[in-house]
Symmetry: C2
Subunit: 194 residues, 2 copies
């Protein structure tokens, strides 16, 4: 079977998992989608994994018990590994609230091909936005163990990048991520990135 | 999030799942690996999924009960769907012994992006090769429910392609698969295929 390096040569890019972690409403999916668009416009192939395509698909058999949440992240990380080993820039957007879960993901993918991006938008701002109405429900006690309200979120100890979307627009977030990843995903002449 | 069509445009190819089914030793992995090489040499990005990267990774929690075998194929098909939706030519090589399992896989991926290739190498030939020594173990009663020996294999009723590797070398098998798939994966000018 072909190695990752052979796939990367064909794609003219290097595989990488970009793992977005942060509270619900912190901007993970918004930044992920804008990042995908930017990568695409520069000719990089990427793949977003998020609740929409994972919870309804491969993890449709899982609930929200602690064991199932762990299994959810384990499988996602295994899928990230398969994509990254195919040379693809894999963008995972999941709350992944504990250091233990994020470390497991890093170990599965392989630390050298894993980048942790912490969306540090504060709870108050996430709750103010409440795009999906989940915080209101959680405050009303209708969602048990909701991260930030009734379940903890461990602040990442050493993220590769931290972004607070309160004061930073999507475009600037994407630019910061790109600055961070282009040296890692690049297999082309530097003039091609302009 | 980007559509499959946008990914396909970037890759200049169309996503497709090629599902190899057949007995242990029928040539699934051998043909898959040679097919990957041929696709690569023509500039097509593909990804093989087989026992080696699935059973040790995403499906490492599964055993061989009937329920687990079904769950094994369900998850594999979901991974195939994710890759195919990224525009990648996804090559799955699994015994997948029943029509029911293969139909489930086809439904998950989507029939229009799914191609079933039946490796029809007869049991006698597979057992004669016995590359992994599994048939000897199965005959000795050391492997319960071994497909072809103590568990059934449903012959596919309408495979898109049938290959008996007894009389057909790997190169000819690959050529036949390529003839079948190039019209489906092609997004380039026909002169590029020569």
């Amino acid at each position: 079977m072909e190695s990752r390096e052979e796939k990367e040569k064909l794609l003219r890019q290097r595989g990488l998992t970009i793992w977005f972690t942060g509270l619900s409403g912190s901007g993970k999916s918004t930044v992920a989608i804008a990042l995908e668009r930017e990568l695409s416009s520069r000719g990089f192939l990427s793949r977003i994994l998020d609740g929409d395509n994972i919870r309804t698909g491969i993890n449709s058999d899982l609930g929200f018990s602690e064991q199932d949440r762990r299994e959810n992240i384990r499988r996602i990380a295994e899928v990230c590994k398969l994509f990254t080993d195919t040379g693809i820039i894999t963008v995972a957007a999941f709350i992944s609230p504990s250091e233990q879960l994020r470390n497991m993901a890093r170990e599965i993918v392989g630390a050298e091909r894993f980048l942790e991006v912490y969306l540090s938008t504060p709870l108050e701002e996430c709750e103010r936005r409440d795009v999906k109405g989940l915080y209101a429900k959680a405050r009303a006690g209708k969602i048990p163990e909701f991260t930030g309200i009734s379940a903890p979120f461990d602040v990442p100890q050493a993220p590769d990048l931290e972004l607070d979307t309160t004061g930073l627009g999507v475009d600037r977030c994407v630019r910061k991520v790109m600055e961070c990843i282009v040296p890692k995903i690049s297999l082309r002449g530097s003039d091609e990135y302009k």
